[in-house]
């Protein structure tokens, strides 16, 4: 027998029973006898929603059955099976309605039977907002009472509303499980037809919250398919009536998970022999993602701790990437390769490390998700800094393989161990990136040999690959740029325009990051900016970019150029890694980075420069930017490019030397350009600097005056 034949035959059986029940009721009470469910404004809600017709008495019920019959077509097509499933549900509703003839309370506690409108209004809101993440419909008896109750409790623990039909109710009673709407476990009834009471909830939710018009069957099915996160767990043995009901559920978009060997339909009818996996299978089938509200660690987790400093004396242990091999890494994996919430520690834990010692650590966060893209890896990784800092008594700095982490003595004594790092990363990644992460596991490694091995053979090649991806991206090679307004909380008129060759001035948001941020949260801080209408290619000015900047700065900023320091330079918030400013005597620019505390030849320190550059105001001749931008071919391209750089602090110069030299070689054919650039060991005043530049033959001296 084909799957559809089973559905048809189950449907026929229920139809036969319904017809007989109605005929008997009419024979006993007459056709005018009123039929209704208590406490609902929606008549027989399922029938009303599907047809738009209210049934008030037995005679009309009989007519309605005639309408149901027209749904019961018998072609070997899913349409026919779906409609027969719907017909089965409607028959069930009719049979259940007859139970209420002359009996306002046919169900006795704990069974609820029909649920009043008020209950739906109460459940509906958290359901629609996602506070109740799903609705489980459990049908039949589990292989054992233990397994049944275990399953119910697992859903309950996730906030999922559980409805019970048939043998599972007795199993829950047997095990003394507390049931009721207040604990989100609602036994409906023993007969399989009582399942319609939960269908009725979904259908009325569509009418009440979804503004679906009664009679709009297609709209109703679309609503339940897209918005009601319900699913069915049907225990073996399945009879044809249950299969017919299942077809109705699937028609509404609710997958059926069963432990009986039967036909399989992806995302719809799933055979899971292991009842202990019903929960995970069901959630995945219905794409239900749980909000993680509590992180299982022995100390507090709050943004209040983000800026907390752990001094050496208070420190239990330190992991220091500048001395030993450390790294943090996010990897994209296939769903089958990731066990959700698995946290593994390889190597000694904190209690096996001497107090005050310096140790290796590496943590690898493997994520899987159908919408996951490897471009997001770096975005997640960059958040680890903030996540780990939010742990009370924990300090994290740096990124990639240059991280430093300190754990305080108090936190250690409170019971904090390394697996808790895993708990924090798991919980935050899963909740913040729920849109793309379906599964997440964390491996923490403290074994020094493995840290070394993995750092060089796994982490660094991955970082290099990401950097390489970034270097092949050019401003011309992409169709769109992105805005970034993450800083508007404190710099309300600043907008960064992030391009492949010009990352955000904080140094933390590359074009790929902005792209990922946009995809993860399309209404979020990074928005697409087109670049179709060019105004001036030399300074990088576009009509569409100007429009975007004006919009996102709430009108504070009219126009910006992407590549000029003098003409309409991009504004700065205050987060800049570096500031560059004009040094008139040498006809070039000096760059100071945030870490540099000394004097610059411009006559101002970094903080003095910052005071005149920040706040989202355009200051021609001064500009905040990221370190990475220094070696960009687009760095003040309008004024001649990197050849204008005459001075940088020594540390910064060393950091950017390789890339900057390569850029200068490519643009001007100059070898070892950095050797021509002054630093604080050469000059802190313009005259000495000029002497040095003249001696080196710095190209800026021969360029056109900037002002």
């Amino acid at each position: 027998m084909t799957l559809f034949d089973v559905v048809f035959s189950g449907n026929d059986a229920v139809y036969g029973l319904t017809e007989k029940a109605i005929d008997d009721a009419i024979a006993a009470n007459g056709a005018d006898k009123a039929v209704a469910f208590p406490d609902t404004a929606y008549s027989l809600p399922c029938y009303y929603a599907v047809t738009g017709t209210k049934v008030t008495n037995l005679g009309e019920l009989k007519e309605a059955l005639g309408v149901v019959k027209t749904l019961m077509t018998r072609e070997q097509r899913l349409h026919d099976a779906f409609m027969s499933g719907v017909a089965t549900a409607l028959c069930a509703e009719f049979i259940e309605a007859l139970k209420y003839l002359d009996n306002p309370a046919p169900y006795a506690a704990p069974e609820a039977g029909h649920l009043p409108d008020a209950a739906i209004r109460e459940l509906g809101v958290p359901l629609v907002t996602g506070d109740i993440p799903g609705v489980a419909v459990i049908l039949g008896a589990a292989p054992t009472a233990e397994e049944g109750v275990e399953l119910v409790k697992s859903y309950q623990g996730q906030g999922i509303l559980v409805t019970l039909v048939g043998g599972i109710i007795d199993q829950c009673v047997e095990k003394g499980l507390k049931m009721g709407a207040n604990v989100r476990v609602i036994p409906l009834g023993k007969d399989v037809t009582s399942v319609v009471h939960v269908v009725s909830v979904a259908v009325r939710a569509a009418l009440i919250f979804g503004n679906i018009q009664p009679g709009d069957a297609a709209g109703l099915m679309k609503y339940t398919f897209e918005r009601v996160p319900a699913f069915v767990n049907a225990f073996a043995p399945l009879n044809e009536v249950i299969v017919a009901c299942g077809a109705g559920a699937i028609a509404l978009g609710f997958p059926v998970i069963t432990n009986e060997e039967t036909f399989r339909v992806p995302k719809s009818l799933i055979v899971q022999k292991d009842v202990s996996k019903f929960n995970a299978t069901s959630l995945e089938a219905r794409d239900i993602k749980l909000k993680i509200t509590k992180i299982d660690i022995p100390v507090a987790f709050a943004s209040a701790f983000e800026g907390e400093i752990i001094r050496r004396g208070d420190m239990q242990v330190e992991f220091d990437g500048s001395r030993v091999d450390c790294f943090e890494l996010v990897r994209t994996k296939e769903a089958t390769e990731v066990e959700d919430h698995k946290i593994e520690l390889i190597g000694p834990d904190i209690d096996e490390m001497p107090e005050g010692s310096k140790q290796s650590i590496a943590y690898i966060v493997d994520v899987a998700g159908k919408s996951m893209q490897s471009d997001f890896e770096a975005v997640f990784e960059r958040k680890f800094h903030s996540y780990l800092n939010c742990v009370e008594g924990m300090m994290h700095t740096g990124q990639r393989d240059m991280i430093r982490i300190r754990v305080s003595k108090d936190t250690y004594q409170a019971g904090f161990r390394l697996k808790h790092i895993g708990e924090v990363l798991y919980a935050r990644v899963k909740s913040e990136f729920a849109a793309v992460v379906d599964k997440c596991q964390v491996t923490i490694i403290t074994d020094p040999a493995q840290c070394t091995e993995l750092r060089h053979n796994l982490a660094i090649p991955m970082f290099d690959k990401r950097d390489e991806r970034l270097t092949t991206l050019t401003d011309e090679g992409v169709d769109v740029y992105y805005s970034c307004i993450m800083c508007q909380a404190f710099s309300p008129s600043h907008v960064c325009v992030v391009t492949p060759e010009r990352l955000g001035l904080c140094g933390a948001v590359s074009w790929l990051d902005a792209k990922a941020t946009n995809e993860l949260d399309p209404q979020g801080p990074c928005q697409v900016i087109t670049k179709e209408r060019v105004i001036d290619e030399r300074i990088g000015e576009y009509e569409d970019v100007n429009e975007a900047v004006k919009k996102f700065s709430q009108g504070a900023l009219e126009d910006v150029s992407l590549y000029s320091l003098i003409e309409k330079p991009m504004t700065s918030c205050g987060c800049f890694e570096c500031i560059c400013g004009i040094e008139p005597l040498s006809n070039g620019v000096c760059i100071a980075n945030r870490e540099y505390a000394g004097m610059t030849p411009i006559g101002m320190t970094f903080s003095e420069l910052a005071s005149m550059t920040g706040g989202g105001v355009q200051t021609p001749g001064f500009m905040g930017h990221g370190k990475h931008f220094i070696a960009s071919k687009k760095f003040m391209k309008a004024e001649g490019g990197v050849a204008r750089i005459v001075w940088m602090p020594k540390d910064l110069k060393e950091q950017v030397a390789d890339r900057l030299n390569a850029t200068a070689k490519e643009l001007y054919g100059i070898d070892n350009f950095c050797d021509m650039i002054g630093d604080e060991t050469i000059a802190e005043d313009p005259e000495t600097l000029l002497e040095f530049l003249t001696e080196k033959g710095h190209p800026a001296l021969g360029m056109e005056p900037m002002m």
Binding site: F4, Q76, R264, V265, P266, I270, Q272, K277, T281, A335
Partner: protein, 630 residues
């Protein structure tokens, strides 16, 4: 449903009529006119009963003259003609495949041609037992390419690719003596057998026809597909547009036409070059638009999202827009008519292959070594031609549809992974599709392939068949000009799910796919062979038991007959809307429509009534379901 609406054949025809008015103004010829001149067609030719393979003839068979001068009867003549027709097709596809192998052989890290899918290369190397460990990817590429080239002429053994077929299929082939040997050998052998004074027994001729077909589908074509993927990337879902409206009046329009992606890939590369775009702007255009016709279009659409201007019988329309700066062609299905037609406009007709040289064209010989320079020169030539446009002749029909294309077998598996449940399913298989089929949610699949043919109202058969199939929950995989017909109509827009039955619609929604999947060019029908082979393995059924059929309703070329032969020989019943010149022989007709079923468990059905053709396919699919009890 939003504002989604299919474009109708009537709308296509209205647009063509408008273009033909332009043609009339400039005195252009058109296939519509030439068809009239050629009608009625020679009846002897149509029935396949004319023999001119020696100079004693030509002989033609009639009731009064039942044998040729050599004594060959009608069955021998029809059979020989059929075999020669097949050999022509097999040679063509396979030589295209050979070109790709050569290109792969010359690929290098700093050359024009690189290996874009090293993973696939490694996979194939492992499949072929070639050591991959520690090898430079280009060394490996050259080694694999060499082995592939040997497939064409190796003295012993059978095609390597046939090992991909299910065991049962391989056994059938062996038993029927159709397991293909070296590719060139099967082509030569076919021409030898059909020489004067060789085979005249229909059974032997048809057996060799199947074998020659198999050396194409499980030989040369598979080389073409697999190594194009290695070189240019394995297609994955990508959005594009189709129909003449993709051409942009303000831009320099370059149209690529033909079959071999080596040329078109390079043209696309350079048309995207900022230097070229700037040059186009300096010439008064707003930019450069590359669009495609025929299978070259399918290739670049699948890999780059390059829009499809049209299919086979629309090639002249491209020039008739008056906005085509250059139509650049490689090989196969190119109308010689394009030469004289281009002279009526400013259009440059550029031939590039020694295989396809034509009068009234500019021949720029394109080779692996100088591909980049030549491509650049061609793009430049098109740009410089922009100023020669006659504005009064420019008319681009405002007609196009959105399409999501790029469903290689790898991509289909990836899509199916998306509907698995990691608690119960494994990844990278076709099992979710098998489950949809066995449960009845999808009734079956039809591979829609082939050309256009003026004998059928162009595109009607493709589009109408597909509409009825998807309404009956039958998923369609399409390639070649059939795929383009679907795209032009809008059937490759994901919104077309609303035209499906409830089952296919649900599948499209859950998997986020259009109901008609674009699997590539005509060479890429080899992808469909791999698809059914894996379907058979993942379902535990034989290919011939799967509720899957093939259909070429508007076919016209020799290649199509070769394709038909390998599709049937693979165990897939194949439905044709045009007779393959065999109606003159009852014996050959009976063999093809029935007799070969004993050898390969499948056969042809020819039905010129399109409405009946689709019903026959649905019927066959339901029969196959019944036979296996699903």
């Amino acid at each position: 449903m939003g504002d989604f609406k299919l474009t109708t054949v009537e709308e296509f025809e209205a647009a063509t009529a408008r273009l033909l008015e332009t043609g009339a103004k400039v005195g252009a010829d058109a296939w519509q006119l030439r068809v009239k001149n050629q009608t009625p067609h020679c009846k002897f030719g149509e029935q396949g009963v004319c023999c001119r393979i020696c100079s004693m003839g030509p002989c033609r068979i009639t009731p009064k003259a039942p044998r040729g001068i050599c004594g060959c009867d009608v069955h021998g003549i029809v059979g020989r003609n059929y075999l020669k027709f097949t050999a022509g097709g097999a040679a063509t596809h396979s030589d295209h495949g050979r070109e790709i192998c050569h290109t792969l052989y010359h690929s290098s890290a700093d050359g024009s041609y690189k290996v874009k899918d090293p993973e696939k290369l490694t996979r194939i190397a492992k499949e072929w037992g070639i050591e991959t460990e520690g090898k430079d990817i280009y060394d490996l590429a050259h080694e694999v390419a060499y082995e592939a080239l040997m497939e064409y002429g190796k003295p012993f053994g059978y095609s390597r690719w046939t090992a991909r077929a299910p065991k049962h299929t391989q056994e059938l082939w062996e038993k029927a003596e159709v397991l293909p040997r070296a590719i060139d050998r099967e082509v030569s052998c076919s021409l030898h057998m059909s020489h004067m004074g060789c085979s005249s027994e229909p059974e032997a001729l048809i057996r060799q026809s199947l074998r020659a077909g198999l050396c194409d589908g499980w030989g040369g074509s598979m080389c073409g597909t697999e190594f194009s993927d290695v070189l240019f990337g394995t297609p994955k879902p990508i959005d594009t547009e189709a129909n003449l409206g993709v051409m942009v009046a303000e831009n320099v329009n370059i149209v690529v036409h033909g079959h071999d992606p080596s040329l078109s890939e390079m043209i696309c590369e350079y048309a995207d070059d900022p230097e070229m775009i700037a040059y186009a702007k300096s010439m008064g255009a707003k930019g450069i638009t590359v669009s495609g016709v025929c299978c070259t279009s399918n290739e670049v659409a699948m890999r780059r999202g390059i829009p499809m201007a049209g299919n086979f019988l629309q090639q002249e329309n491209v020039v008739l827009t008056g906005a085509c700066e250059a139509i650049v062609v490689d090989v196969q299905c190119i109308f010689p008519a394009l030469g004289p037609l281009s002279k009526c406009f400013h259009t440059k007709f550029i031939t590039t292959s020694k295989i396809a040289q034509m009068p009234d064209s500019e021949f720029i010989h394109f080779t692996v070594e100088d591909a980049a320079d030549k491509a650049k020169a061609i793009v430049k030539m098109a740009i410089e031609n922009f100023k020669n446009r006659k504005p009064e002749l420019v008319h681009i029909p405002d007609m196009k549809q959105k399409a999501t294309v790029g469903y290689s077998l790898e991509a289909i598996k990836k899509v199916l992974d998306g509907v698995t449940n990691s608690q119960v399913d494994e990844l990278g298989t076709l099992k979710p599709l098998v489950e949809c089929i066995t449960s009845g949610v999808i009734r079956g699949a039809v591979a829609m392939v082939g050309c256009n043919n003026p004998k059928i109202r162009p595109d009607t058969a493709h589009i109408e068949l597909m509409k009825k199939l998807i309404a009956n929950d039958i998923i369609v995989v399409a390639s070649g000009c059939s795929a383009q017909a679907a795209a032009k109509a809008g059937l490759m827009d994901k919104a077309a799910k609303d035209l499906c039955g409830a089952g296919l619609k649900r599948v499209c929604e859950l998997a986020d796919i259009p109901p008609v999947l674009h699997m590539g060019s005509c060479v890429d029908i080899s992808r469909m062979m791999n698809l059914v082979a894996d379907l058979a393995k993942d379902s535990g059924l034989n290919i011939s038991q799967l509720p899957v059929v093939g259909c070429a309703p508007e076919w016209m070329s020799e290649k199509a007959v070769s394709i038909g032969n390998y599709v049937v020989a693979t165990g897939i019943d194949t439905f044709l809307g045009v007779d393959p010149y065999v109606s003159g022989s009852t014996e050959v007709t009976n063999l093809l429509t029935d007799g070969i079923r004993e050898w390969v468990e499948a056969a042809y059905t020819v039905e010129k009534d399109i409405e009946k053709l689709v019903d026959l396919m649905i019927e066959r699919i339901e029969e196959k379901r019944k036979a296996i009890g699903i």
